[in-house]
Symmetry: C2
Subunit: 147 residues, 2 copies
C-alpha cells in the first residue's frame, strides 16, 4: 500500500465515524432525547452495572474532571444517578436511570438504522467483517478521535 493510501484510509475512517456519529445523534433527537454524542459513549460504559467517574474518564479518554462535568449534565437531564459506591466510601457509582436506558436503546436503534444502510451498500456480511476487523485493531481503546 502506498503512503498516500494510508493517509486516505485515515480520512475515510474519520469521515465514516463522523457521519455515523452525526446520524446517530440526529436519530436520538428524533426519538425525543436531547444531548450531545458524548452521552452515547458514556452510556455504553455505564450500561451494564454503572461505573465510577474515574472509570468513565478512562473510557472516554478525558480527565476525571471533564467526566465529572459530563455526569453533572447527565444527572441534570435525568439520564443517570450518583449512588454511593458499595465498598468504597470515596467513590460514587454512576448508574443509568430508566430514562437513561431508554435513551441508550434509542441510540442503538439509530445506529442500527445507519448500519442497515451500509448493509445495503456493501452487503450484510461485509459489514460484519468490517466490524470484526475494527474490533481486532482496537479492541478496547478509549473512544476519542478528536483532533
Amino acid at each position: 500500500m502506498q503512503n498516500s493510501e494510508a493517509l486516505s484510509l485515515t480520512a475515510a475512517l474519520l469521515a465514516v465515524a463522523g457521519e455515523l456519529t452525526q446520524r446517530i445523534h440526529e436519530g436520538v433527537e428524533a426519538r425525543g432525547f436531547e444531548g450531545r454524542p458524548a452521552y452515547g459513549f458514556a452510556f455504553t460504559r455505564l450500561a451494564p452495572d454503572g461505573a465510577t467517574v474515574t472509570e468513565l474518564a478512562t473510557h472516554l479518554g478525558v480527565t476525571k474532571q471533564a467526566a465529572s462535568q459530563l455526569v453533572d449534565e447527565l444527572v441534570r437531564k435525568g439520564y443517570v444517578e450518583r449512588r454511593p459506591h458499595p465498598g468504597d466510601a470515596r467513590a460514587r457509582l454512576i448508574v443509568l436511570t430508566e430514562r437513561g436506558w431508554a435513551c441508550t436503546r434509542a441510540a442503538e436503534e439509530a445506529a442500527a438504522e445507519v448500519v442497515r444502510g451500509w448493509g445495503e451498500l456493501l452487503g450484510e456480511s461485509e459489514v460484519r467483517v468490517l466490524r470484526e476487523q475494527l474490533l481486532r485493531i482496537a479492541p478496547y481503546g478509549p473512544i476519542r478521535p478528536i483532533w
Copy 2:
C-alpha cells in the same frame, strides 16, 4: 446484526480512527514537525494545487473563519503561503511551501507505518478491503468526527 452491535461498531470506528490519528501525530512530531492533527487533514486538501479558505473549510467541516485561523497558524509556522488567486481578486489561493510538502510526506510515512502494523494483524489484503469499504461508505464526506 443486533442493535447493540451497531453501537459497538461505532465505538470501534472511533477508537480506531482516534488511535490512528494519535499515532500519525506522534510520528509527524518524531520527524521534526510541530502541529496538531488538523494540519494533516488540511494538507490533504491543499496538496495538489492549493485551495481557497472556503474550500478548505468545507473539506474540514468547519466555518470559513475557523479555517482562516488555521491558515494563519500554518502560515506562521511556514507550512503554507497565501497567494493571490488567479481569476478571482477576492479569493486567495493557499498553497503548500516546501516545508509544507515535507510535513505532508512525513504524515504519509507515519500513517503508512501504522497501517503496516494493521497489515500484520489482519493481512495486507484485508486492510485494502477495509480501505475500500470505508471509501464506499463515505466517498468524500467532510472530515470531522468530533462529538
